[in-house]
């Protein structure tokens, strides 16, 4: 199982979702991905994308200007 970080600061939705989607295609079930963003929209868009594609949000946190989500690649064939 690997842990990977993805810096998506400066990108506006849906680009952070697209980058997560494309990165997860390259990962294995159980791998973890930490994404750092500046668009507050990721706090609902990325969890929604994870729910419909079978992945999990392990944790999320935010400061004034950054939004960080920890994701785990699910066991479905979701991409």
């Amino acid at each position: 199982m690997s842990k990977i970080a993805l810096d998506l600061r400066g990108l506006l939705c849906p680009l952070p979702v697209i980058r997560v989607q494309d990165k997860i295609k390259t990962l294995q079930q159980g791998d973890e991905l930490e994404v750092t963003c500046t668009d507050p929209g990721v706090m609902h868009d990325i969890p929604t994308w994870c729910r419909i594609n079978g992945h999990s949000v392990l944790a999320s946190r935010s400061s004034d200007y950054e939004f960080i989500l920890n994701l785990q690649v699910g066991g479905s064939d979701g991409d």
Binding site: I18, Q21, P40, I52
Partner: protein
């Protein structure tokens, strides 16, 4: 082996595509959604950037639709490929810079490519005959089927009964009798069907997220191309058209003046690639310079920037200009609002 048929639905996030996908799901077909990001669907970006709106960011409606339908959604970045559609639309533009018919042909063609690569059977859209002046007319809908290469693999469930039978209907993958005959600009049949399915809180009917249909955005885009001397653009160009006041005092440069703190913060990310100005003696917005500003232009640019600072009524305001890493500080009198020609505002 399951013989369940599979369809991909073009999901914009609006009501029509939601209903079209639902109608086909109800017939036992496996449906997944596809959404294309051209770079111009930026309705949530103002909320994402502006400080006052950050607490209530807009949802992505395509994702919301996918969740309502419990289906996967594939979001595809087509920013580069879309340039050829916008720059050379075979069927021309709509009221603004919107190449709606070419856009729909492009997206259906991409969907056709996707179903071939992913072993799906057909394509669904939420199009309704007569609903849009350019892409959803009785005479242009066959153009989309034909020029996209999708032909009879393209099914429009909401108005299928007004159109020739498609392969999914002919083969019995879907029952034509359970499709619809909606037409025209009225939204009542769609709203009634949404009510029947129990959908609430869907995106505003007939709403669209493409800024190419927006007049002021299109004016800024045309201005960018005109003064750049070419129709080339990058994603950053089209993002910046949504941010700040755009003021063009001369053909060689344009000022992008942040309107509030959130926009200043967003523009900070672009400082490396641009000449920029910042009032230092008073509070004030960050300003980027798009184009090639000369030494002789700086006093005027500084006076304009000072006008939007908290020192707008002061006799003297200090403005720092950073160009190619070189810092110049100018002390200027802010330009009064009434002296700024209206035509400078893009």
């Amino acid at each position: 082996m399951s013989n369940k048929r599979k369809a991909v639905a073009l999901i914009s996030g609006g009501l029509d595509s939601l209903l079209a996908a639902k109608v086909i799901q109800e017939q036992g077909v496996h449906v997944e959604g596809i959404n294309f990001f051209t770079g111009f669907c930026v309705e949530g970006h103002t909320h994402a950037i502006r400080k006052k709106d950050k607490a209530k960011p807009k949802r992505n409606n395509a994702l919301w639709v996918a969740e309502q339908l419990n289906m996967k959604l594939h979001i595809v970045d087509v920013i580069e490929e879309y340039k050829s559609v916008l720059l050379n639309p075979k069927h021309g533009y709509g009221a603004n810079m919107n190449p709606c018919l070419d856009c729909k042909v492009f997206m259906v063609a991409k969907a056709k490519q996707w179903i071939e690569e992913n072993d799906f059977d057909f394509i669904i859209t939420g199009e309704v005959v007569g609903q849009r002046p350019m892409s959803q007319r009785k005479d242009t809908m066959p153009v989309i089927s034909r020029e996209s290469g999708a032909d009879d693999l393209l099914l429009r469930p909401l108005c299928a009964k007004n159109l020739p039978e498609t392969l999914p209907e002919h083969e019995g993958w879907v029952n034509r009798d359970e499709l619809f005959d909606f037409s025209g600009r009225t939204r009542k049949p769609q709203m009634a069907l949404a009510d029947q399915y129990g959908f609430e809180d869907y995106a505003t009917p007939a709403g669209g997220c493409c800024f190419l249909t927006d007049k002021s955005y299109s004016v800024k885009l045309v201005d960018l191309w005109k003064y750049r001397g070419s129709k080339e653009y990058e994603l950053d160009d089209i993002m910046l058209l949504k941010v700040g006041r755009h003021i063009r005092p001369g053909g060689n440069y344009k000022l992008i003046v942040a309107r509030e703190e959130g926009e200043s913060r967003f523009l900070q990310g672009y400082k490396k690639g641009f000449t920029w100005l910042q009032v230092t003696s008073h509070g004030g917005p960050l300003t980027l310079v798009e184009g090639e500003i000369t030494e002789a232009d700086l006093p005027l640019a500084a006076r304009l920037v000072a006008r939007f600072s908290q020192g707008r009524d002061a006799d003297k305001v200090s403005v720092e200009c950073v160009r190619d890493g070189e810092v110049t500080t100018l002390d200027v009198k802010p330009m009064p609002a009434h002296e700024i020609p209206a035509e400078w505002y893009v």
